[in-house]
Each structure stands twice: as structure tokens, then as C-alpha cells.
Symmetry: C2
Subunit: 456 residues, 2 copies
């Protein structure tokens, strides 16, 4: 039987509209009436808006959040960098089994829902047992992720990672990367097992992910693109200057330049980070129709650098945000600091708003919403046929007091943050009330117990 949600004001594709009745059936939006009063039995919300997609997550890394900020913990007196952080992360990897993976991912996923994300793209590369051997079920770890999505309610786009090499030119993996190995002889089976793991998960999407240009040969990449077809295909690219230098040494081209020349990059592709690009690469990526997968909080934590937003936005490039390392999970902080990073670099304001009269917050939210959904094969917006993935705001939050509807997203993103988020619905089911996930206490306690066990 359909359910109905009535909003005093709802963010529809054309903007904020008063008195909206939304009919939901089978998790999808099947009716939208505007300018109508609530009817008896309607569920009620004051301010309703669509949820965002989190296009890039390594859920297990939530467990090391806050544990990599001690100087020289890995390399002693040398300077800390992305690479020393990666070493610390690798040291944690051997301890994870599917049970721990589920405990950690479920916590990360409820934090995503509480932070404004209703779908996650899980860039999943922790495939094998601690000794590098395959689990009897090759999707044992993927299954833990699917169970976490089921338990939390978040939408899942699973991106099993192909990871066969440690460096450009087909280098073998290092010993501490054995759990990641997924190569030509095993990937199709893994991919099939992942499809099986998602079978009972409503709205699940299966894509795939060559880990990076370091991890695949050109021939392997071509095979993966063919296997993906029109499904989401994600790749880490140009996050670090060293990676650009190594790619140049290997191919004479920069990473994004090489990819554009050698792969059928199109609208189903997501290039994660794409931090270090020339103007020509930036324009080419925008023109390809692919999505730039930006992770402002993680890119700041890891000291990656800033995305060349002005050229990319001017060229109409698609983008979305991801919480990546999950060091902190908050959709609004991602959007706020995407914009703020650009302001600091350019010394001007309202960068994402491309036209006079446009709200920066509205521009950020709309671009990240559409780009994220595109990257994950999901939907975005309160529109017929979309998944009923919705957020409600606390109308009594001071930052929303006396604010005009067209400035509501500015107030939310810049002045309030997630403290103004009240309810979250995923496919019509309410999973967060008063900013707290309904299963928070249980999932948080299980997470804490798992960490005590892992770190004992």
C-alpha cells in the first residue's frame, strides 16, 4: 500500500515549493502534488529535500579515523604524507575479517545517513583472507558490505576493485597488498559473486573499479571497460604528484591525459580525485561527460591538493562528493569545504555559483546531487520514478530562522551544517529521526567491541 509524505516546503527540481504531497510505492516516488494540504494519515515533514550520493567510500577505513595524525608514527623524523598514511592503513588491514568489516561498515553507513548521504559507492578492494588466499566465497567481504547496507538501510553501489599490479608497467603487488589481489584469472568470478551478494538488496547497483592506472595494464583496462558496459566504472586518478610523475615516466603522458586517450571514458565513468590536471585535461574530462569524484575532507586530510574547479565548472563538468577514507562523515562539510578550498586559493567568494543571482549552496547541492547519482547509477531529486531518498530539516534551527527559501541551502551548508538535519528516509523508510539513526546504539556498541578486539 502506498505511503504519503507531506512537506510544508519541499525542494523539487524547480526549487522550493510549498505544500507538497509525495506518494511512495515500492520505495519509489509515484506521485507528487503541489499546493495541497495534508490529508489524514499523511506522514509530515516541515522542510523536505533529496538525499545525496556518497560516490566514493572505503568503509573499513572509518576504523582508523583519528589514528593517523601522530607525526612520524610510520617513518620517524621524515615528513608525513599520503604515502606514510597509506603505510599506516596497510598495517591495519591484516586484522580485518568479514565480521569486523561488517561491524565497521555498518557504523560508517549509519553515520553517512545521519550526515545526509542516502547512497554510497563502495570502492571495495579488501577481497582476500589475511594470508592473501581467497575466501571460499570470493565475495565474503563484499557480502559483509551488503549486509551492512541492508542493516543501515543505505543504498549501495558496489564497485569491486580490480587490483593486479603495484605500479605502472605491470609490477607485481607488494606483500602487504596480497589481500587486494584481483586479477584477470579471478575478477570475473569475483564480479559474479558480488552480483549474487547484492541480489536481495533493494536498489543495489553493481559496477566495477580498476583501482588506478598503477594497478592495471592497458589490456586489462580495456577488458574491464567492456565488462562494465554501461554500469558505473570508477578509477582513482591523479591524486598525488608522485603518481603523475610515474605515469609520465611510464607513458610520456599524464594520468588523465593517458586515460582520455586510451579508454572509452563516458558518462558511466567516475574519475576519483582528478586533483592534478592541466587545463587541457580539465576541459577534456568535462567534455567526456564523466563525473569527477571529489573528496574534499579526505583530500585535505591527506594533503592531496585542490581540484581545478573554475576551469572544470566553466566547462560544465559533472562532479560529486565522496567521504573516501571516512575520516569524518558529513555531506555538508564536504560541500562547504569544496567551496572554501576554492575561495582560499582564488581569494574570491561564491565560486560554485556560476551566474549572478545564483545561490552557492543551491549550486553545490544540485551539482553534487546530480553528479553523485550519475556516478552511482542511482537517482537524485524529488521526481517521479526516483527512489524516495529524502532528508528533512529542523525548521526551528536558528540558522534557518527568517531565511528565504532560495537561501535555505546556503544556510544549511555554510551556517548550520548537519546539526539542522532531522529525518532521513531511504526508499520511503525512515531510518534517522532527530539526527540519529534508529539503530545507532546497537551498531555503535558492536563497532566499539570490534575495535577493542582488533586493536587488543
Amino acid at each position: 500500500m502506498p505511503q504519503v509524505l507531506h512537506a510544508g516546503s519541499a525542494l523539487l527540481p524547480q526549487g522550493w515549493v510549498d505544500q507538497v504531497r509525495i506518494t511512495i510505492d515500492g520505495g519509489l516516488i509515484t506521485g507528487i502534488e503541489t499546493g495541497v494540504a495534508p490529508q489524514p494519515g499523511d506522514e509530515r515533514a516541515a522542510l523536505l529535500m533529496p538525499g545525496l550520493s556518497n560516490l566514493h567510500s572505503h568503509a573499513f577505513q572509518r576504523a582508523i579515523a583519528g589514528r593517523g595524525e601522530v607525526r612520524g608514527a610510520v617513518r620517524g623524523a621524515g615528513e608525513d604524507s599520503f604515502w606514510s598514511w597509506r603505510e599506516a592503513m596497510y598495517r591495519f588491514v591484516p586484522r580485518l575479517d568479514p565480521e569486523a568489516m561488517q561491524a565497521i561498515a555498518a557504523l560508517a553507513y549509519i553515520e553517512m545517513l545521519e550526515g545526509g548521504f542516502t547512497r554510497v559507492g563502495e570502492f571495495h578492494y579488501l577481497h582476500n583472507a589475511p594470508d592473501g588466499s581467497r575466501y571460499a566465497d570470493p565475495a565474503a567481504m563484499a557480502r559483509a558490505l551488503a549486509e551492512s547496507a541492508q542493516e543501515s538501510g543505505i543504498g549501495l553501489t558496489l564497485l569491486p576493485v580490480f587490483y593486479a599490479h603495484a605500479g605502472f608497467g605491470g609490477q607485481a603487488l607488494q606483500a602487504d597488498q596480497a589481500r587486494f589481489l584481483s586479477a584477470p584469472d579471478s575478477f570475473a568470478q569475483l564480479h559474479g559473486a558480488c552480483a549474487e551478494a547484492l541480489r536481495d538488496l533493494p536498489g543495489a547497483v553493481l559496477g566495477l573499479a580498476p583501482h588506478s592506472l598503477r594497478a592495471v595494464t592497458p589490456e586489462e583496462l580495456a577488458g574491464l571497460a567492456a565488462l562494465a558496459g554501461t554500469a558505473p566504472i570508477h578509477i582513482h586518478i591523479a591524486e598525488q604528484v608522485r603518481e603523475v610523475e610515474q605515469c609520465l615516466a611510464w607513458s610520456g603522458q599524464r594520468p588523465v591525459e593517458w586515460l582520455m586517450d586510451h579508454a572509452p571514458v563516458a558518462a558511466n565513468w567516475c574519475l576519483v580525485h582528478a586533483t592534478h590536471m592541466t587545463e587541457a585535461e580539465t576541459t577534456a574530462l568535462a567534455a567526456s561527460g564523466a563525473v569527477a569524484g571529489l573528496c574534499p575532507v579526505t583530500e585535505a586530510n591527506l594533503g592531496d591538493g585542490l581540484f581545478p574547479a573554475p576551469d572544470y565548472l566553466a566547462a560544465g563538468g559533472a562532479w560529486g562528493v565522496g567521504s573516501d577514507s571516512n575520516v569524518k562523515i558529513d555531506a555538508f562539510e564536504e560541500l562547504r569545504w569544496f567551496e572554501y578550498g576554492q575561495r582560499l586559493a582564488l581569494r574570491k567568494r561564491n565560486v560554485a555559483a556560476l551566474h549572478p543571482g545564483q545561490s552557492t549552496g543551491a549550486a553545490l547541492f544540485d551539482m553534487a546531487g546530480r553528479g553523485g547519482a550519475q556516478a552511482l547509477g542511482g537517482s537524485f531529486g524529488i521526481a517521479l520514478g526516483n527512489e524516495a531518498d529524502l532528508l528533512s530539516l529542523d525548521p526551528a534551527h536558528p540558522a534557518l530562522a527568517a531565511i528565504q527559501p532560495e537561501q535555505r541551502l546556503d544556510a544549511l551548508i555554510f551556517a548550520a551544517g548537519r546539526s539542522a538535519l532531522d529525518g532521513v528516509w531511504r526508499r520511503g523508510r525512515k531510518v534517522v529521526s532527530g539526527g540519529r539513526h534508529h539503530a545507532r546504539d546497537r551498531i555503535a556498541a558492536r563497532y566499539a567491541a570490534a575495535l577493542r578486539r582488533l586493536l587488543a
Copy 2:
């Protein structure tokens, strides 16, 4: 009668210590015992740490948070900048009376307490009536701030601003700056009336603030330094490139360079922003013993630029943080993005941690705590004689699960944020529980009503 607070673990100057009994009398810490069990009647906290000082606030600007993010709202098709934002802020100023000031400041102050700040430095320049005439009580607006501090419980360092000129070389104020006018003929009286307004406020401190080098002549600045004596003296400086250019045109020197050569800058001084400095200026400021007043969230929102932290930290410079425009109020976001801005610019990690083995979060917290207290004439830390300004953390927060004590501040600042903050005490009185100020509902409702009236 003294009260006693027992902490399972407390952050003392030497680090986290277990089983700490803190005796508080008259708002001050009068006893600290370690390694002792709680006694009947002790108030209890699991994890206890000191509150931070917010060294730079314009409380009334909280009311325009989220209202300045529409592109071209002030200047049409031109690029938005600090200066267009300032025009928008000036348009709001005429609407404020003391009643509205109190409604807004009280909201800002409870948000500060909920965000980890237990003292605020109010850089107060909105002195006069809307038509520019003086109020019968020259401290009418300052009194509204003192009442807001009293009502919220926050510690107040009031910094009445001297503001006599609109530009270098003694230019007269613009018409839209008439409410700010405080000049040689009136400032001493204003300063005295402010002292009177603070008389009944526990722990209040009176300083003063030449608004900027634009707003004072060299002779006026010398007079203000003499009037301040050893009390806090704050000045906006080198926030914008245009200001640096104008100072060079006027004096042949850059702002910080000029100030160091012409004013008795010492440990009671706070140079707010100090964004645009040469290496020589940076080193000179550090050597002066003054505090750099950094406002990472506002400086990002306004597109000011990044503070030259590496040289300044290497030279042992003192600094603290301020919420300035109050676009978003959160001590931990200020610290997190102070560090992250540096990581993005330098492409390395753990910048504020100067020594191998040091926690970045602990370094940030300690430096900002000490610098903020110095700048405001307050105290920092759980130590005898200090004000009992304390924060407690939620020990069940997932980001704190299985974390080592020495990484607790990393987990708080980078992984949890203010969601881990539970209780806040100011001079021993608990004003925040479960992350919410005890008077939040009433103060938020009055704030919303005031905004509706102002913006009608």
C-alpha cells in the same frame, strides 16, 4: 561551599591522567587530586578537558550567516569578494538595536559554548544609534553583549573598538560607518562605560581594539596602546591584499611591518588574521610574543587566504582561533581546517605537530588554548587558580572507541567533531548537557523572533 568534579580521565597540562578529582570554589580550580576514586556527592564526567577561548567574534554577524552566499547580490555581474560581503553586512547594520543585539549575541554565545568555547573576545564596534548619534548610555550596545554573556554563561573579554577613519591617512568615515564612530573625543568615555557594563559579570576582562591601521592615525594608536596598558589590545591586520597595497602606498611598509616598527607590540597584543605576511614579518610577529588571531572558517568563507603557518610555528609564534563572522560556530572545525588548509597548500600531513611522536590534534588544541587565553586575558587548562572552564566528551562516541589517550584529541578534532562534546562548564557551572545549552530553546525562539522583526 566548594564543588567537586571527578573525571575518569582528565586532560591536565602533562597529558591525560586517570581518576582526577577537581575542587572548584568561587568559579576557580582550587584543588586537583589524581589517581583517586570519586567520593559520594562528586559530580562525575568520564572524559574531561579544558574549554577553549574564542579570541575574535563579531556576535551580531551571526544573524547574516548564510545570507551572503548568493552570487552578485551586492554588485551584480562582478566577482564576489570580501568587499562585496562587507557591503552586504553594512546593509544589515542599520536594523540593529540593543534588544536585537542581545537576542543575536545570546544565540551566538550559546552556540559557542556548545561548540567548545568557554570565553569569547568580542571585538565590538557597533556603538552608536542607527542615525550615527550616541546612545544616552554610550555602552548601550556593549551592555547588550554583557547581558548576553551573563545569560549564556560564557566568559567575556570585551574589546571596545576605536574606529575613527575609513582609510589610511586619516580619511573620514563613510556614511554607512557612522554607527562605528569612536574617536579621540569619545573613546575614553566609551571605554569607561564598558568597564561599568562589565562590573557584575564574573571573570569579565576589558581590553580595547583599534579597528585596523585604516581606522587610526599613528598618534591615535599610540594613545590607545598607552590606555590599554597590559590589558588585551586587538587589531585587524593584513586580512586582504588590497589592505596591504594601500598600506604600502601610504607608508612604504606592509601592515605588519609598519605595526612592528611603530607600536609597542607585546604579549598583550593580538593581531587578527595577519594573513598576508612576508617571512620577515612572520618571524618578527612570532618574536614579539603577541598572538596571531586566526579565524580559519571565516577566512575561508571570505576568501582571505592562508596564514603562513610553517614559518610562524617554527619560530614558536603564539596563536589562537576565533569564529569572527560567526558564519559557523565550532571550535573543532576551526582547528581541523587550520591544519587542513596548511596540508592542502603544502601537500604534506601533520603540519602543526612539530616533533616526531607528537599528536597533531594535541598540538593544535594546546597551542590554540594557550594562545587564546593569552589574547583574552583569561586562563587555559586544568590547573590551580584557573577558571573552571571545562568540556566533557561522550565516552560512547564511536570515534573515541579503543583510541589511546594520546590520540584522543586527534579523534575528537579530525574524526568526531563537536558531535562528541557532551557537557560544558563555565566557572564550574554546567551550562551544556548532551551537547545542548540549557537555555537553548528559549534563546533560539527569541533569536528567531528578533530576525523576523528585523527582516520583515
